[in-house]
Structures are given as C-alpha cells and as structure tokens.
Symmetry: C2
DNA sequence: ATCAAATTAAAACGTAAGTTTGAAACGCTT
DNA sequence: AAGCGTTTCAAACTTACGTTTTAATTTGAT
C-alpha cells in the first residue's frame, strides 16, 4: 500500500534537489536537508563526502539522462529530416525538458529550475566538472544549428543560440521571474504544454529572423 | 588629480554591488565587503542596519533610476508614435539598460547582472518590497504591448512578454550562462552594442510572430 | 549463529557568519 | 577651545555552519 521508504542516499538527493531550487545552494544547510529527509546529519558526509559533492550528485542524476535524451532526439531528427528544420531542432531540446517537467518521479519541474538557477549562479561545479564533460552536447547543437541556418555567420548564430537557450531555460525554470512584469496569474499557472505551445514559435521566430547586416 | 575617496556608505555600496554579482548574496560575507571597501566591519550595520537592508540599498540605488528611464522613454515614444511599434517598445527597455551597462559610474554592467541574478534567485526582498513598488512599470508595459499587439489574447501576450523580458535580462546579465552551449569566445566578449544589434531583432521577431491558434 | 563490513546515530569540533558593544576619533558649531 | 552629535574602530558575542569522531546498530555472507 504505502510506497517503501527510499534509502538514505536517495532521500537526501530528493530533498536536496527541492531545497537547492527553493533557496539556492549556499542558503540551504545540511541541517535543513537532513531534517526534512529524516536522516542523520552525518549521513550526507558519509554518503557523498561533502556538501559540494552532494550538489554535484543532485545535479548529475538528472542532467546526464536529460542530455542523453536530447542527443537521442537529435539523432532521430537527423535521420528523419534531410535538411534540418529549426523547429525540429528546437523541439529536440524542448521535448526532453518537457518530459522531465511532467515526470514527478524524476524530480518533475524541479530539476529544470535547478539547472536554470545554477547556470546564472555560475557555480564552480558547473564551470569545472560539468561543462567539459558535456562539450559533446554543445558541439552537436552548434553543428546542427549551423546546418539549419547556413546563412548566418558564426557570430550571429552564436548570439541567437545564446538567446534561444536562455529563453527556453527561463521558460521551464518557471521562476516566477517575470510575474513581476507580467503580473497575470496566467504565467504563473504553469502548464508545461502551454509553455511549449507559445515557447516554440517564439524561439523559432527569433532564430529564423532575417540576417542582420 | 586622484578621485577623492567616496564616503563610507558609498564605498560599501560599490563593493557590495560587485561582490553580490560575483558570488551571490548568501556567499558574500560582510567581512569580504568591508575588507575590500577598506572600512570597518561594523560600518555596514551602522549605515544600513543589516545585511538584508544593505542588499535592498544596493538594489534600489540602481533600479529606481533605471525604471524611471524606461518610463521616460515610454512617454517619449507614446508622443512620437501614433501606433506603438513593437521595436520601439523593446527599445524603450533596452536603451536604458544599455546606457547603464556602459556607464561605469553607475555600476556599469554590474547592476543589470545583479538584477537578472536576483530575479532567478527569487529573493524575498524582490518579492516583497520591490515588486509592489514597481507595479506601475508592469502596468505601463502591459498596456503598451497590448496596444502594439492588439491581435494577441491576454494569455499569449503574457507569455510573449515573459519570454521577451527573460531574453533581454539574460542578454545583459551576460552571465556566461550559455557559454556552455555556444562555447565561442564571441559571446563572452560582450560588447553591449553588439548585444543590441542581435538582441532587438530576435526579441521583436518572437513578439510579432503569427498568432497561435 | 557469527563475524566483518556497511550504515546510522549522537555529540562535539573548529570556523566563520551577522550583529552588538563601548570607547576613541572626528567634524562642526558656538 | 569646548562641547556635542556623528562616525569609526577593535573586540567580543551569539549562532549556525560543514565536518569529524567514536560508538552503536544493522546488514549480509559464511
């Protein structure tokens, strides 16, 4: 009847994921984590070694599969479309994010928010460990977008990718970031499918807009 | 010859602004601040009352003038253009940000980064104090965009504004957020004018794209 | 059932945080 | 020069942090 209680390490990961999103890395103490996870304080250092290492574990548990999903979608698209479409490309990124957002078992929308948050916080862990490891991801998308938008120079393409990914991350992050600006409850009622309905056209329009002289 | 040393409170504000951007609010200690500002540790609490209050001071020193500039540009645009153009509207926001970014005397690009960072960190101070205070800003832009894009429903308009502002903030924030994705040194070499050259068309294209059914 | 390894538990450690205190130094008016 | 409010300073206070330690307990293979 009742779901069996996950093991200590998993409980710590789950609670940490939520708290890191809510309060940020620095503002989340191990005591908050272990208390809410109902485990002993020392368990974090026993299972993960340090708070830093815990963060990395929280992060990698979700990021690795997410990136793998994106690359799989990308593979599939490249066999399906002769000439890569921008919308198709955008979708290879958005669909895995959306799937993750809708799957509570994998942290639901939490991790995407954590990812977004971590990106702007410019964490050392993200700069060092992770960014190297996933240069594959970068290269694949850079090449794909170059093929889909051959008329753009490298500089303009880099900017547009920068803009596009920052919109997408923020959209899924669904930080109430811009409720300040848009006030309406509409935006805060974040149905993931709604996001995509409006997000894809917006991003695609920006990406395919005429070349700047 | 040499610039006269600013008073204690100003020195604290200047250093705090930089450190809050670099390391975030929680990870910046008063001891780091007072050391770099070459003032006594107690000076922060004497002049500002608390670390929280210091943050609010740092924030409001720049935000109030920035918002005032945007609204002034908006006023000017409304007298100049019969039918508001989307590009004009976007520019009323971007131009003050750009001006701020290029003015070291007003914190240069630092504050815009702090603003962006604070938005995704979802600070209590931003949620409480500031968001109420600047509902004027929200309402003005909401109304203006509604006039410029009358064919959009309130829901779709809210989303597009959400997307648009999140791109713009991230662009100026110039966190190396997406260097991870775009890798090229181009994006990190952040000439503010370059940002605008590519940013405005991107955002406008997204905003004016065809209505979704 | 036994024993070694893995895990949990309680307590303490050392450090660094934000804040407070009370005296010294300063700036200004008289 | 004296007096007074403002500002600076060194030092201490309290609290909370991440981590370590040591012992108790559980687990799993023999």
């Amino acid at each position: 009847m009742e779901a069996s209680r996950p093991d200590t390490a998993t409980r710590i990961l789950d609670v940490s994921e939520r708290l890191f999103v809510e309060h940020g890395f620095e503002a989340t103490s191990l005591r908050m984590i272990t208390q809410q996870a109902e485990v002993n304080l020392a368990a974090v250092n026993y299972h993960f070694g340090s708070k830093d290492a815990l963060f990395e574990s929280v992060f990698m548990r979700r990021l690795a599969p997410l990136i793998a999903s994106c690359l799989a979608e990308l593979d599939e698209l490249e066999t399906r479309e002769e000439k890569l479409s921008v919308e198709g490309l955008v979708t290879t990124f958005i669909r895995p994010c959306l799937a993750l957002s809708k799957d509570p078992a994998r942290g639901g929308a939490l991790f995407v928010r954590l990812l977004s948050r971590t990106l702007v916080e410019n964490h050392r862990l993200l700069r060092e460990t992770i960014s190297q490891q996933y240069s594959v991801f970068v290269q694949r998308y850079s090449r794909a977008f170059h093929l889909a938008l051959p008329e753009l120079g490298v500089e303009e393409l880099a900017w547009r990718m920068h803009f596009a990914f920052s919109v997408m991350f923020n959209a899924f992050a669904g930080n109430d970031v811009l409720k300040i600006f848009t006030r309406s409850q509409i935006v805060s009622a974040r149905d993931p499918d709604m996001i995509v309905k409006y997000l894809v056209p917006f991003v695609v329009a920006g990406l395919v807009s005429p070349v700047q002289r």
